[in-house]
Symmetry: D2
Subunit: 302 residues, 4 copies
């Protein structure tokens, strides 16, 4: 199948390699021309404009976006609008908000253009060797590219989750669960680390991966991380996030679902970005006010 691929970053590049391995003909585009050159070296066709991408594909076109969620997706769709014809299909493989995907689906449907929201999990290694894909969209549209999703996914790692938006929704919740699982694992290792016992984290992560209830890919990755740096001394505990955990919590609030573990996983990430906290200052000040407990001086003021 001919596929136009927009966005050749860590995930996109590997997905293209994955597609090439399954004998698809890929035309790759990225604003970063180096990445276009690189993908050409791998056997794809490379172009430097969206127009060139569109024109390089036979009708109906399949256009796969693997770009940062948000306004950029709208911008790329807008730039494609002058060319798009009924029957074309746009796949958004990124981490877009599911409500944006529903909106884009409706916008494109009016033009006869199909839209598929594809949540893609498995990290960069999965993108290369077999991802997990959660697909939302009209059945008749999804069916046209279903074989491609199945090929680039691991066995049983493909699901048509339902109507437009459901793919990104399922992926969003997946990431919320992921936040919670990661924080649970991380808290456990901090308890081990602070304990009276001379714990070998790498060995514990390894044994927990063999036969225990908590065995999981995340535990394998934990093992891998400790095998490189036994106490993670080189890493700062700053936990960035890319939005899906926040969206999961916001969605849970809208749906009235109590999700304390997902909420706290997210809030502890926010907390990790702070050197000092205003809330901590207030509590310290209050303890001083009523109990005369000494406050610590702000570092900035010393």
């Amino acid at each position: 199948m001919h596929i136009g691929f927009i966005g050749l970053g860590k995930m996109g590049f590997n997905l293209v390699l994955n597609l090439l391995r399954h004998n698809h003909e890929v035309v790759g585009y990225d604003i970063n021309e180096t990445l276009v050159t690189d993908i050409k070296a791998e056997g794809a066709q490379g172009v430097n404009t969206l127009e060139a991408l569109y024109n390089a594909l036979p009708a109906p076109r399949i256009l796969w976006l693997m770009i940062p969620a948000g306004p950029l997706v709208d911008k790329v769709i807008e730039q494609l609008l002058p060319f798009l014809q009924a029957g074309d299909i746009i796949i958004d493989g990124g981490n877009s908000h599911y409500q944006d995907s529903i909106r884009r689906y409706q916008q494109l449907k009016e033009l006869g253009v199909g839209f598929i929201d594809c949540g893609t999990s498995g990290g960069t290694s999965g993108a290369l060797e077999g991802a997990c894909t959660m697909i939302g969209g009209d059945r008749e549209v999804v069916e046209k590219v279903e074989p491609v999703f199945q090929q680039i996914s691991v066995e049983n790692g493909y699901l048509h989750t339902g109507p437009a938006g459901s793919g990104h929704f399922t992926k969003m919740v997946h990431n919320g669960v992921e936040y919670g699982m990661m924080q649970a694992i991380a808290e456990g290792f901090e308890v081990l680390e602070k304990s009276q016992f001379p714990i070998d984290h790498e060995a514990v992560a390894k044994v927990w991966n063999h036969g225990s209830v908590v065995r999981s890919w995340l535990m394998e990755l934990t093992h891998s991380a400790f095998s490189k740096d036994p106490k993670l001394d080189s890493i700062r505990g700053v936990m960035h996030s890319s939005g899906e955990g926040k969206w999961t919590l916001e969605t849970a609030l809208d749906l009235g679902v109590p999700t304390p573990v997902i909420a706290l996983s997210l809030l502890m990430r926010y907390r990790s970005l702070q050197e000092d906290t205003f809330s901590g200052k207030v509590v310290a000040a209050l303890r001083n006010e009523f109990g005369g407990h000494a406050v610590e001086k702000s570092v900035d003021k010393e």
Copy 2:
């Protein structure tokens, strides 16, 4: 090797089968005589008193306890005390509190009796087919039974974690992590369930198990549960707990480790045991007091 096995419940019975399969000679004991009869049918020797168990074993004896944590473990050790000889080894394979294990280790060490605390994970299927074992105790004592631990565990599923207590400590933290991972998964599926999409939970659990970041044994079990009951309609959401999550949190508090996800996983279990809450009554009463917001009448009083 000759092994005396005390406690033939769900975990113990399967561990004995596992031992027998590896050609060990097991003498089994349980206060429930039916279980003794059953284990005899499987090829073990069965006895109905601890004295008989002890006498059926060649010196030095290996006595493996797989019984409920708490006073019962002390009681069984006390009942064995008249017989115990220097060189004997007691293995506690249950979920004892690590501080109890350290105390028992010291008590027995004075008699020259070895004590090993063995945290056992993997559930009943793991007990049968290959467990995950975390072993605390003196190296020279552990080495004497190490081959047995390795045989009954899956490959790489055995670890000598360190001194006495460290095995049960590591298992305790494992269970704390398990609570957090389970709650994270559970919250995610509740968001899916309450969403606008017609989610097929079984299909989602299956796809999340193939290539996604959250793939794990717990997700396989989630898939299994949904395959039997697609909406879990037959199950009440009452979450019991057996102590290790609470101990993990208590230990974290002693160590000054912030573990919000483990804490909330535990507190939501407690909450699930309540039909109504006193705290909820207080908040409802306060909203009525200041805002005139109507309260709902207690069901008991209607």
Copy 3:
């Protein structure tokens, strides 16, 4: 001063009484004509249409809205639009989302109409006897009605918080803090209730109100509630909420502020609305899957 008052519910009615007591001339309107009749009996003028309300006031008009937040506020403003003249002032005294207030401020500013967002705290008794008001809006507009705000508020209970939206923003955060304080109090009394001691909640709430660190109006209300129903037996612990707690958390997420206590206060309210939980079913099912722990049957299915 002449004031047109729209919305004569629990809060609005009391605020009108408060205004009348300070010798303002109030024209009251509500869709519920009984409330209009009632307010006339208290000395206000009463009307049954917004047009009549508008026409009953001298220019420039002061129109005070005390109606449910959301689309209704937009609807009322829309119905007033044909009449509104430059120099008129609309005060929104309800719990509108601050972003809606900023939008309405801008919409009305283009017409030369002033808009003030007034967060009103203190409950129904405060509305009657002296409220706490947090006012956002242009200084020159706020100054025109400032004396009124000061009169209906307790001494020092009035603040011009800043530009449009800041009044409702400050009130929103106030309510977030209120959620947290209420939940903290409620949790404490549940610990007392479940303890081994024969606690007299009314007496404890009373003593905690006299000299202790936690003395507060909420504790006074707690005392009042227990004085009527010593164990709150007649009340169900269902905690409804009206939006500001959720908005505070959503705002905190947007600002990257970790607010675990406000988050959990809200999530426990959501939890209190559930008889059973899907997340609980998932955890119970998982415990059954790996450990053979019995599940409780769903009540619906028994």
Copy 4:
């Protein structure tokens, strides 16, 4: 009444002044002799040994301890044991764990010595001008000193909560509630601080104290703190704690009471003591492992 007072720290010193003002004759003792000299200057008798303290009092003696909770209380009681006579009364006015108080009550009861556990709230200013006291102990013993408790407390600020231990229990829970209220207030001000509005914290704390639902002594103290340092720039947000919040949570866990707000208030205090977290390192490492997300280098290693 003659009272022997042991411990002349911030709380104890002020309580002695309070007692003197009510015309009690106080014999003061502290290991810090300067404090003994200081209290003599205020009109108390001062002594430098527990024996001298005991001998300076008429039988039956009233011995009031205001010393740090824990082993020191046991040590002081042990040092008093050679002198104690039936009929003497020991009052522990500190923040002892209620279970220790029950144990001490029983130990002393065997000697005919009365024991009263007195939880004291209100901070240092309350100790001086009128505290809030929660008293546990046998009715006939409490009655003997009841007038003293009433005099040093604000009006209605004294309560005999029940049997031995109940005073310290009630105070412990009070402090748990206090943690929650403080954290709620603190989170609210952090949301204000990070908002788009130019919030004047001092003014907000002041208006929230006049007529609002959250008016409270803690809010008065918040106002006081902001009046001295508008942004708390000089204070570091390190939140120490002295044990009662932890005990409240541990007690809640034992009683099966879900107390998420108290739990998180405590855990955020622990978090504030950490510059960096091991759990954060684990999450950052995991994000790097699966997504190639860059980690931040540990400061120590730069």
